[in-house]
């Protein structure tokens, strides 16, 4: 489909050797998300040369690509057929690969309305920690044969397998999109408004708030967007448009580029902001379900408050990568993580410790 190169046998050989030697590997794609997760000590295993779209049939809504294929390349191809990736994966510094997008499991502003990364995963081909090539899932929309190990790879940060190929469900590009700008000085009011709107049959595709301004994106037919815009009110944000959502997705807005601690607080969308974070500068995305906080905060207090609300905290950027950066797991869940790690990677060589110490 697109130019590429098949590096599978080289990669398999490399993992087999590492397994035999019990030599840790640090899996790398486009290096766009090196900051994310914990530090890994290991020899680099570069998958970025294993690239190319393998199959894409727009009428099937399915695309399969080698893991090292750049997201930009995939989006360009999809765009030619007026389709796209529903989870709007962030690129950050630009070289992001589809394998990295799945491994990190990070999604853009469309996520609460279109779905999470794993919701679009249909199948994967992986190398286990023993260097075995395995396929799970497939290229069909509905498939319940065997455990869903394809979705389990999503967000696992390469700790369970080296992604070789991924098959994704894609979605049609909406005919029309419009961003509405509503003045709203109060963050809690903005969140309440986003949730009221989400309970109505409106074609929302993003809802974010920062510094007195709420922005709502609508995606539908021309007539549908006009109808929804009239129902919601506010003014059309002509200056921002798609560029704004791209900058929010890739953390290019000034709030995100300052060199200070950046926290990701994931909460049920209507949850109240914990009191311990009340004074922190914040960006609200995902209609309230993803809140970015900046600066020095009490991690333990924030984690406890998030857990109480059914959410969790990630130390996203500018933290010590040798410490824990993800919300601590309950003892039973932690023990299960360790057992699953061993089930896929008995020698502990794949991105060891990227997710949690020992995983």
């Amino acid at each position: 489909m697109t130019d590429g190169a098949d590096m599978e046998s080289d990669l398999r050989q490399r993992v087999r050797e590492a397994h035999r030697a019990r030599e840790p590997l640090r899996i790398a794609g486009g290096a766009s998300k090196d900051f994310y997760g914990r530090a890994v000590e290991g020899a680099p295993l570069d998958i970025s040369a294993h690239r190319g779209v393998l199959r894409y049939d727009p009428a099937e809504l399915v695309l399969s690509a080698r893991a090292g294929t750049r997201i930009d390349e995939i989006e360009t191809l999809l765009g030619e057929h007026r389709q796209m990736l529903g989870f709007e994966p962030p690129r950050f510094s630009g070289g992001a690969t589809i394998g990295g997008a799945l491994s990190a499991g990070l999604a853009g502003p469309r996520r609460p309305y279109a779905g999470a990364v794993r919701d679009f995963v249909l199948g994967v081909k992986i190398l286990s920690g023993k260097g075995e090539v395995m396929r799970f899932g497939g290229e069909v929309i509905k498939n319940v044969a065997g455990f869903d190990l394809a979705r389990l790879m999503t967000g696992a940060l390469g700790t369970l397998g080296v992604l070789l190929e991924v098959s994704l469900r894609v979605i049609p590009r909406p005919q029309a999109e419009r961003t509405l700008l509503l003045e709203q000085p109060n963050a809690a009011e903005a969140v309440a408004c986003f949730n009221r709107l989400a309970a109505r049959p409106l074609p929302l595709s993003a809802a974010a708030w920062h510094d007195g301004a709420a922005r709502i994106r609508l995606s539908a037919s021309e007539a549908g967007v006009a109808h929804a815009a009239a129902a919601i009110g506010g003014e059309t944000d002509n200056s921002a448009g798609e560029n704004f959502w791209r900058q929010l997705r890739d953390h290019e807005l000034p709030f995100f580029t300052e060199r200070r601690k950046l926290w990701r607080l994931a909460l049920p969308p209507a949850a109240e902001l914990p009191a311990c974070a009340a004074r922190a500068p914040q960006w609200i995305d995902w209609g309230g379900a993803q809140r970015w906080l900046a600066g020095d905060l009490d991690r333990d207090a924030l984690c406890a408050a998030a857990a109480e609300r059914g959410g969790h905290v990630t130390c996203f950027r500018h933290f010590d990568p040798r410490g824990e950066v993800f919300q601590p797991l309950a003892p039973a869940a932690r023990a299960l993580h360790l057992r699953l790690k061993r089930a896929f990677d008995p020698a502990g060589i794949l991105n060891p410790g990227r997710l949690y110490a020992g995983v």
Binding site: D57, A59, E60, V62, Q83, G105, P112, G115, A116, R118, D119, E132, V133, M134, E139, V140, I141, K142, N143, V144, A145, G146, F147, D148, L149, R151, T154, G155, A156, I171, P172, N195, A198, A199, P201, L202, P203, A220, S221, A223, G224, A226, H227, A228, A266, L267, P268, A271, W286, A289, G310, H312, A330, A332, A333, L336, L340, A343, F344, L355
Partner: protein
């Protein structure tokens, strides 16, 4: 599986009655009969006993006890599954969650429903109706089937192309493990660490027992419209489906029926389907009124461009229900023209539909059996219904052999042996064809991370490598594929 000792029915019942009310432990052989099978009634087995816990704590105690005694556990919702996933183990306990049937909370602000596992699928949407919200997955058994069973099977339904499967609509779950522990999986919008919730969904009761689930509720669409298109070939109908999707329209549902299915439905339901059509499509579009109007016009045009011999648009709610009635009643209708039928659940890339249906027709001819096809056309999930008579000696075996061949055809077409019904006990042989030894070994390793003694639903979903060696040897040595009475693990 070998366990050091086998406990007697009476002794086990006494242990269960220490923490469950007398009537919640069923051990009389005549009462156990009701639990002998699920929706796949060709397979039957009486369990040692049935336990009906009423609280998560009782589920945990039941699992801990079975874990200590080495007694297999088969969890069960409403028993409507079609793959024998809830078939009892002869030395095991059936753990029915039927009594845990409370909707615990409807959270209007976050648009979620917190429910117990025995809640019926349709009851969730009913509980959210006042808020104009609904729970999207709608398997055809939704009046009876439970959320616990839906999670175990990753149940689908007519609307999954647009609204997703169970895995897309569950926010979180609390799961009891075989050691009596409790895991809280998932969360809104996501959870730290590995995505264990996604792993749980569709795991066929082999990793744990769901004791509570939080489900996503969606706003009811403002408007819905259904079109019926008749075609003189299955290929033309399939091309029309591809054209709809290529035009950027994701219908809420798009279903195909072939001529034998149309005739069966018409004979008993009189939905007004054209009896001479080779295939009909039922296409439902929903959303805001402006989009629905535009999409209805677009679908009508695409039907015409692909040679539809007739297109009807339901004028009102009554007619919409009538259009759907024939499709929804297709299985019972087929049940009335044949003493028995066997529902296959293969899933294929949609572009293969013409080739696969031709192959199915050829295989059916060779086997001397009739087939009616209903098809979730939007997502490639095919349900051939093989008509047979279990009263005729050898016909069930012939039917199962035909089913297995159809599934091999689906795999060869780039598809899978099960789109939404699960592997259960029924398609365990097909797993050997679809997966390599390394992949099957990986499934077992994952299972053992949750359940090291392999007591949860043993013999289902994931075949042992020894069993596959036997299965695959049969394939090589016999022209005619058959499933003899293999022992279940």
């Amino acid at each position: 599986m070998n366990h050091p000792h086998h406990i007697s029915r009476g002794a086990l019942a006494r242990r269960f009655r220490k923490f469950l009310p007398r009537e919640s432990v069923i051990d009389r052989p005549d009462s156990l009969r009701a639990y002998e099978c699920d929706g796949l009634s060709a397979y039957r087995e009486a369990p040692l006993l049935v336990a009906l816990p009423e609280t998560p704590e009782q589920v945990r105690r039941a699992l801990r006890l079975c874990g200590e005694l080495g007694v297999p556990v088969v969890s069960r919702g409403a028993g409507t599954g079609l793959s024998g996933g809830a078939l009892p183990h002869p030395r095991g306990v059936v753990l029915s969650v039927a009594k845990m049937n409370a909707v615990l909370e409807i959270d209007a602000a976050n648009r979620t429903a917190r429910v117990q596992p025995g809640v019926r699928n349709l009851a969730v949407s009913e509980a959210a109706r006042d808020l104009n919200l609904f729970y999207a997955p709608d398997p055809s058994s939704q009046i009876a089937c439970t959320i616990g069973g839906n999670i175990a099977e990753n149940a689908g339904g007519v609307h999954c192309l647009k609204y997703g499967l169970t895995v897309h609509n569950v926010v979180a779950a609390k799961v009891a493990t075989i050691d009596g522990g409790l895991l809280a999986l998932g969360g809104a919008p996501d959870a730290p660490g590995l995505d264990l919730l996604a792993l749980l969904i569709g795991s066929e009761g082999m990793l744990g027992v769901v004791v509570e689930a939080t489900l996503k509720l969606l706003p009811r669409p403002e408007s819905e419209r259904v079109l019926l298109g008749a075609f003189d070939s299955v290929e033309r109908a399939a091309d029309a489906v591809a054209a709809i999707i290529a035009a950027g329209i994701i219908p809420a549902g798009i279903e195909m029926m072939d001529n034998p299915a149309i005739l069966a439905a018409e004979d008993f339901i009189q939905a007004g389907y054209p009896r001479d059509a080779a295939a009909i499509l039922l296409c439902e579009v929903d959303g805001i009124e402006a989009d629905v109007a535009a999409q209805t016009a677009a679908v009508e045009k695409i039907f015409a461009q692909h040679g539809a011999t007739e297109t009807r648009i339901a004028r009102d709610e009554r007619e919409r229900a009538l259009f759907w009635s024939g499709r929804k009643g297709a299985l019972p209708a087929v049940g009335r023209i044949s003493p028995d039928y066997y529902c296959i659940d293969g899933s294929i890339p949609r572009r293969q539909i013409g080739r696969v249906l031709a192959g199915i027709s050829r295989l059916a001819g060779e086997a001397g059996l009739r087939i009616a096809n209903v098809f979730h056309a939007g997502d490639g999930n095919l349900h051939p219904l093989i008509l047979y008579d279990a009263g005729t000696p050898g016909e069930l075996e012939k039917t199962e052999a035909l089913g297995a061949k159809i599934l091999e055809l689906c795999i060869a077409a780039g598809g899978t042996i099960t789109g939404e019904h699960g592997v259960g006990v029924e398609k365990i042989g097909g797993m050997c064809t679809q997966f390599s030894d390394a992949e099957l070994a990986q499934f077992h390793a994952v299972r053992e991370a949750f359940d090291p003694s392999r007591l949860l639903n043993p013999g289902k979903a994931i075949p042992t490598l020894a069993r596959c060696a036997e299965h695959n040897a049969m394939h090589v040595h016999r022209g005619q594929l058959r499933f003899p009475e293999l022992e279940r693990m």
